[in-house]
Subunit: 156 residues, 2 copies
DNA sequence: TTGCTCCTCACGTCACGTGAGGTGGC
DNA sequence: TTGCTCCTCACGTCACGTGAGGTGGC
């Protein structure tokens, strides 16, 4: 009960500007993703009224933005790799009543495959960055040595 | 002399398609960068003739693409951070006759600043990827545990 | 009531993608 | 000569940026 209270404690719905600031994007980006259908349901909202985001909506958005930013994927690729909204449902509250165990197992298995692919991409990027880091460090060493060499000589 | 020979051995000029393949981009990208003035001199080439790239041209291009790809910079930011062509000149052949020691030292110092900034950005990215990796790994563990739990229950 | 943030078009921009039609080198 | 890759426009696309003009909540 106390845990449930804590969980509820931040279930407050946030407005688009607050969300955008937290995630480091603009409101335009969030609206664009909704337009592409990446955010599930803007359907329930009445046209003209404010968009409101739950913590799980924000988690979802953060995932999309990380896939785009850190892995450099196109929004099309992001769509392929991001968890379907179903997975969130499966892991949260009322999954017991929505489908069979077999169906849930299938959903979870595909989610696992997706996360494994994401991890592969993360590792590939990490190798790329490590290579780049080595090259930059070597370059820095060379430049510093060269500078020392220059300073030790008389002006030309 | 032998070292010089080895260095010369791959001084062969390459065509745009070959370069594009090696760097994992399209020819369009390379032409676009030239158009923006990121590649120094397309001036010497006669209009309509083939573009040719030296190994140091290719190194320069690889740097630009890494800055864009791995660090997610805009081409404008890339321009700010990429080494000026002068730096290559300074480090290579005939720098002795082009400018004073003082001038060369100034150029090298600014190059060092640039590389240090690049390294900072690399480290920031690495932290971001490490965080992402942790989250993905935790998620994977949860999903697998959940799946085991599901499999151990009778079908609903 | 006064700001503030939100809303919906809608045109602009950045970084290329993608043909269209034609020319040069092994 | 035959392919192949290259060339130059130039319009299209993706992922937003950027106002223009207007409405809703503390």
């Amino acid at each position: 009960m106390t845990v449930a209270m804590q969980a509820r404690a931040d279930e407050r719905l946030r407005r688009i500007g607050e969300v955008a600031d937290e995630l480091g994007v603009t409101t335009r980006t969030i609206r664009y993703y909704e337009q592409l259908g990446l955010l599930g349901d803007g359907d329930r909202r009445l046209k003209g009224t404010h968009r409101l985001y739950s913590p799980s909506d924000i988690d979802r958005l953060r995932e999309l933005i990380r896939l785009r930013d850190l892995l450099g994927l196109s929004l099309n690729e992001v769509t392929q790799l991001a968890d379907a909204a179903q997975v969130q449902q499966c892991l949260h509250a009322q999954w017991q009543h929505t489908s069979s165990n077999r169906t849930r197992a299938r959903i979870i298995r595909s989610a696992i495959t997706n996360v494994e692919r994401q991890l592969d991409l993360v590792h590939t990027r990490q190798r790329g960055l490590a290579d780049f880091e080595v090259q930059l460090t070597e370059k820095l060493t060379k430049l510093r040595a060269y500078l020392t060499d220059l300073d030790s000589r008389p002006d030309s």
